[in-house]
Point group: C2
Chain length 396, copies 2
């Protein structure tokens, strides 16, 4: 048979750079591509102890079905983490998710009719665009500078798109650029959301990984009208392999997301929820995260130092205060996708993510995202040096 | 704010019996409500050993991100299980899912435009109706008898609904009725699907839990045109808390489901996939399942024996050859929902799932689903006796 697919699949397509990124999985390539945390820093012993304890607990409840909105104790602990970060909420305001990615899917399905507008940063997280596509949105985009989404331009975009339903932002150490939304712009973003009746999706996977400067208030903590859906994740602060994230939102929004959770996959893994909950009870997550911060700060320094040393002067790189990424700006006319295919992979044996893919509407080919968390420091030096030499010997 | 939701949320509503079922969670109630496997039969020691081994493996890969379509070794092992069950397939034909529930969501999203028809058994699995609702289908239903979906009536339903897109069935030990689709009807169902260009969703969570009779070929094994999406699950044969299921389907279908997987939650938990894979390498799943079969067969006998002994004669109960459920038929005019609220819960201290909720179009209130896998045998006897006495002393 030749299947006939639903209309909503029209824009659901394989990533144009999937094949290129797959080449980066070759172990002889130094990959700065994925957003992987450093596996040598995973709290393996502690997690092993937690799995042992929850599996041995009488009654086998950690292996059984669980409530679809999450284990009550874990919801309570997540509410505690959010309170400590300045968000007034209780366990009732928390929905446990299969990674915060699931919250992106649910938000778009819940809020966006086909053809309606989602506003995003430009560039923005590719995974969010992928999550939103099956809801058949149109995108409107707001450029990013060193202080994050440019809220003066957001005002213009909203004026031009009065029917916009939802705004998506990564305010802390944005993916892919690494920049952080300034405090003044956070207030302005909330003011604009209130004025235009937008729901704001605040995606914060990197928030805890801050190297420098003061933590800024979450958008959720500035939200007086219950229009911010805050998404959090254990992937970067604990381990990605648990696939645990969460949403904090006003009751009417969270209830609908909870219904979609029942529909989509019934529940997140009981074992993984029980283990995360026990870890939070038994161990000091903040101390563990402090170690991650130090390690990733050092790696970021190594990468930026190597970039300054080896890259041609005209290539810019952001210096993020946290997170996992720096964002390269090559001269106009440079095609980072072609360079990766023709030079970086085959000659320098280095992979990155070409920047074009992060722009929802108009790809700008003279950018690339580099991850500094996954590789050991020696590999960062080696890979950036090789990339720099390739850039110098193959000017485009 | 008062959120405005997308059109697709119109039919996404809390279950009408959610509150009633929540009452069944009271530990002083004997619940035959949920579809829970028996937690005392979970292979806890083996799973603990598997978690230990995958967490300790050098490189920490079990805690890291993994390919979104599943760990290659696990896909290969699942293909092996399917081959042993008569389905010609390879690892490439397998997509790992967050429980087979996720396959229901993906199938409907991929295939069904708003207002298009999904054909289901009548009654059918409530979770499937919940999974399908956000895709805004209409339902057409086919009654079930002792040999499963009545394919002569299916032919009529398809003639009346030429635009039907998808057919959903639980051919083995159906939820909620416990009945199994006969071999002749399996062939007829495939013939009709071919004639009407339907995609068939074959949901098989209970297939391995057979007490009596011979295993019948899966619909997928009879599918010569690549139009069956087979869904399988480790929830009943291993543990639900891993949330692991899979789809086997033709390349064009599986590729689209894989794109929805990336969009929906990126991937299933690496840890849980690695543990299931190691369990399949280290232990004898078939021997474990043989033990489950014996235990659940004994419980089914205890329940049906107690029903024969204590229930009024006019109440019918299916005698399934496998699975987790028997299906009660009360006399016309009996309202199993009202009886549960007014008598079974407060007086007999027993819970079940009122049958009305399983009928997609026209609820028939004189039915109920009883689960026999979760409770110990003594509780089954006690609960059925109490329910029988309540039915006799409160005729309706």
């Amino acid at each position: 048979m030749t299947p006939r697919f639903a209309q909503r699949m029209a824009e659901v397509r394989p990533s144009a750079i999937g094949e290129l990124l797959a080449l980066g999985a070759d172990p002889s390539i130094i990959s700065f591509g994925g957003g992987y945390p450093d596996a040598t820093l995973f709290p393996a012993e502690e997690l092993e102890a937690c799995f042992r304890e929850v599996i041995r607990a009488p009654g086998g409840q950690a292996m059984q079905y669980a409530p679809s909105n999450g284990l009550p104790r874990l919801r309570q602990q997540i509410a505690g983490l959010m309170q400590a970060d300045g968000v007034a909420c209780t366990a009732e305001d928390v929905l446990v998710l299969q990674g915060s990615q699931q919250g992106l899917d649910f938000a778009a399905r819940m809020l966006v009719d086909p053809g309606e507008v989602i506003v995003t940063e430009d560039p923005t997280f590719l995974g969010a665009l992928i999550a939103f596509q099956p809801s058949q949105p149109r995108f409107a985009v707001v450029p990013v500078d060193a202080e994050g989404m440019q809220t003066d331009l957001l005002a213009e975009v909203l004026a031009a798109n009065p029917q916009a339903r939802m705004l998506y932002t990564v305010p802390d150490f944005q993916n892919p650029t690494g920049v952080t939304l300034s405090l003044a712009r956070r207030h302005e973003l909330i003011r604009l959301a209130n004025a235009h009746d937008l729901v704001v999706i605040e995606d914060t996977p990197y928030r805890q990984i801050r190297f420098a400067g003061e933590s800024l208030p979450t958008l959720k903590s500035l939200d007086s009208e219950g229009r911010v859906i805050h998404l959090g994740s254990f992937s970067k602060v604990l381990v990605p392999g648990l696939r645990l994230g969460w949403a904090v939102a006003a009751p009417a929004l969270l209830a609908r997301m909870g219904l979609l959770k029942v529909a989509a996959d019934t529940q997140t893994s009981t074992l993984n929820m029980a283990v995360a909950s026990l870890y939070l009870d038994r161990y000091d997550l903040a101390a563990h995260v402090a170690g991650l911060r130090r390690a990733y700060a050092a790696k970021k320094e190594v990468m930026l130092d190597a970039i300054r040393r080896h890259f041609p002067q005209e290539i810019g790189a952001t210096d993020p205060e946290g997170g996992l990424f720096t964002w390269l700006r090559f001269p106009e006319g440079f095609d980072a996708t072609a360079f990766m295919r023709e030079v970086a992979l085959p000659r320098a044996r280095v992979a990155y993510v070409p920047g074009a893919t992060f722009f929802p509407l108009t790809p700008r080919p003279n950018h690339a995202r580099l991850n500094f968390s996954a590789q050991p420091e020696a590999k960062i030096r080696e890979g950036i040096k090789a990339l720099g030499e390739a850039l110098k010997s193959h000017p485009r």
